[in-house]
């Protein structure tokens, strides 16, 4: 029994380090970044399009827009292909195919992001420039690359969620005369909702936070984008591009960019969680 206690304490300590790290990071970022936001003023920081650190102008509005649009684009691609793939693998494809395809998709997660970025620059960007116009380095390119990068996360968690739905649900639905697709759409997807939301959140987290590949394909310009073919700088790119040398106020402004990123991720996560909870509560009533 004493041994159990000891192990418990050890594990508790290990578990707390993760939370402790999160707390430390949050405190540090906010401590460094918040003063600047207050000094510059909320509207001049969040709603201005002028980022000229040399002149004390720190408007990050275009970057907020950039981060949100690029992430949204990536999630559309990630959801359509990732969830689609997961549904095919669990509901329609022969089991043998699934045992081959799922690990193959998961392999995508092992590719370093620089490689994705490089592929983007060498292959995707010239194609966009040639056939769609613009400088090529664009929100579209970043969305597509990020969409591919979130595929393994979205697919493999979705597959696990769909597989966790008890067989009896499907049997019940089919016994009631539902087709395979009706069963999938009305029963399996609904039963697996919380798992699918997890897949979405984790995929989104990856998309919002990805830096290297985005720096390489998004172009990093500071102007407010007017179309999906325009170049854009995301919040993470801004930090990574300028952190190397920034000092004083500029450095604080980059931490403030981090604060913004932190808040955005919190908001996105809580929206996703609330949506899933609300829907989950509705299900029994229907």
């Amino acid at each position: 029994m004493r041994q159990d206690k000891i192990i418990q304490w050890i594990l508790m300590g290990v578990a707390l380090t993760a939370i402790g790290a999160l707390a430390l990071i949050a405190i540090f970022i906010f401590k460094e970044g918040l003063p600047l936001i207050f000094r510059v003023g909320f509207s001049d920081f969040f709603l201005s399009s002028q980022w000229r650190p040399g002149q004390g102008q720190f408007g990050i509005f275009p970057m907020i827009v950039g981060s949100l649009v690029v992430t949204a684009g990536a999630m559309v691609i990630g959801l359509v292909f990732g969830l689609g793939c997961a549904i095919v693998l669990t509901e329609f494809a022969p089991r043998r195919l699934a045992t081959f395809v799922k690990p193959a998709i998961e392999l995508l997660a092992g590719i370093p992001s620089v490689v994705y970025g490089f592929m983007g620059v060498v292959i995707l960007v010239p194609i966009i420039r040639q056939y769609l116009g613009g400088p090529g380095l664009s929100m579209l390119a970043a969305s597509i690359i990020l969409g591919i990068m979130v595929l393994p996360t979205v697919t493999s968690i979705s597959v696990d969620a769909l597989r966790a739905v008890p067989r009896s649900y499907r049997e019940g639905a089919i016994a009631l005369g539902a087709t395979r697709w009706q069963t999938t759409r009305m029963v399996v997807l609904k039963a697996a909702r919380s798992g699918l939301v997890t897949a979405f959140i984790l995929g989104m987290g990856r998309a919002v936070g990805e830096t290297m590949a985005v720096i390489m394909v998004a172009g990093n310009s500071l102007a407010l984008p007017r179309s999906i073919l325009d170049s854009v700088r995301t919040l993470t790119s801004n930090i990574a591009l300028e952190m190397g040398y920034a000092t004083g106020e500029h450095r604080q402004a980059l931490f403030a960019t981090g604060v913004t990123l932190f808040i955005i991720i919190m908001i996105l996560n809580s929206i996703a969680l609330t949506v899933s909870r609300q829907r989950a509560q509705k299900v029994p009533k229907v």
């Binding site: 002028q50 420039r129 400088p135 090529g136 172009g219 990093n220 310009s221 325009d230 190397g244």
Partner: protein, 315 residues
């Protein structure tokens, strides 16, 4: 997993697996301790060998030349190893200040504040080339034209007599020495257009201009190569020959930056005179091997290496 599975069947009693948990825990603790010890020991070892290392950090424009110099330097000095890292001119100066680097590489002039604590050593001069795609019909531009291009006044190549296509500007990131030099030499106080793309290295700018028919960027003349076209400035071709002659006007120094002895911060003139006598006279805390490296770089063989790469000697 495999281990536990092979051990499990012979265990006859239920009590048996119990002691395993503490054993595993103890093993983990021991492993972690070993790891920590290893790290400490490894770090100690690293510090020991560091006595024979010279670390250069800074400008991505200087980096490839520094690497080449390091290779040539190695042949005569196998006991000293030279480590070269990029990151940008300002990052290099910060690394020098924090002690990470022995020598900072810088592709722009030092600011007044920086000169208080650091000494610049000019290792070579480099042209700043404005580059366009090979298919671009424009061959020559004036400085004003380049300025209005990057300020965003000119948005279509047609306005400069080129083909009818929008201009794609390509800048370097803040903190880049090449950007700094471009702002000083060409923009002269004017702001660049916000819509300009921002790339992190000479290589990235070049790759983009190489593939984009409407792109225009700027980079180190020594790194231009043959895949992109360096425009003539008022008809003067961008070559190291013209930089040496002084006819090509976009020229910036390549610097090795070292810490200055405290209290040596003096006026420009005095700094210049110490530099003329010996660039190393005012340097502080320079390791012997760093000094050897700098002496090699400034010596005729070192300068010859730089000249062979299209740079212009310091003198």
């Amino acid at each position: 997993m495999a281990l536990r599975m092979t051990q499990a069947p012979p265990a006859p009693q239920h009590k048996r697996p119990r002691p395993k948990v503490p054993v595993a825990a103890a093993l983990t603790v021991v492993l972690v301790l070993l790891l920590v010890l290893g790290l400490i020991w490894g770090a100690g070892g690293f510090r020991k060998t560091r006595g024979k290392t010279v670390t250069l950090i800074g400008s991505t424009s200087v980096e490839p030349f520094a690497e080449l110099l390091a290779e040539n330097f190695d042949q005569g000095h196998s006991d000293i190893s030279v480590e070269v890292q990029g990151g940008g001119s300002t990052a290099g100066i910060q690394a020098l200040t924090s002690g990470l680097a022995d020598i900072g590489m810088c592709s722009r002039s030092l600011s007044k504040e920086e000169q208080q604590t650091m000494t610049p050593i000019v290792i070579a001069r480099d042209g700043l080339a404005v580059i366009v795609n090979e298919s671009n019909p424009i061959d020559t531009l004036t400085e004003e034209q380049i300025r209005s291009l990057f300020a965003g006044d000119v948005t279509n190549w047609k306005q400069l007599g080129g083909s009818d296509s929008p201009v794609n500007l390509i800048m370097r990131e803040e903190g880049s020495g090449t950007r700094e030099a471009f702002m000083n030499l060409v923009m002269r106080g004017r702001e660049t257009a916000l819509r300009a793309l921002v790339q992190e290295s000479n290589g990235a700018v070049k790759e983009l201009v190489r593939t984009d028919p409407a792109g225009v960027g700027y980079m180190s003349l020594g790194l231009v190569g043959t895949e992109v076209k360096a425009v003539k400035i008022k008809g003067v071709e961008a070559t190291s020959e013209n930089v040496r002659r002084g006819t090509y006007t976009l020229v910036r120094p390549f610097l090795f930056v070292v810490r200055r002895r405290v209290g040596e911060a003096t006026s420009q003139g005095a700094a210049a005179s110490t530099r003329a006598n010996s660039p190393l006279a005012a340097a502080a805390g320079l390791t012997p091997q760093a000094k050897t490296l700098i002496e090699y770089v400034l010596s005729p063989p070192g300068q010859a290496v730089l000249e062979s790469q299209g740079l212009v000697a310091a003198q």
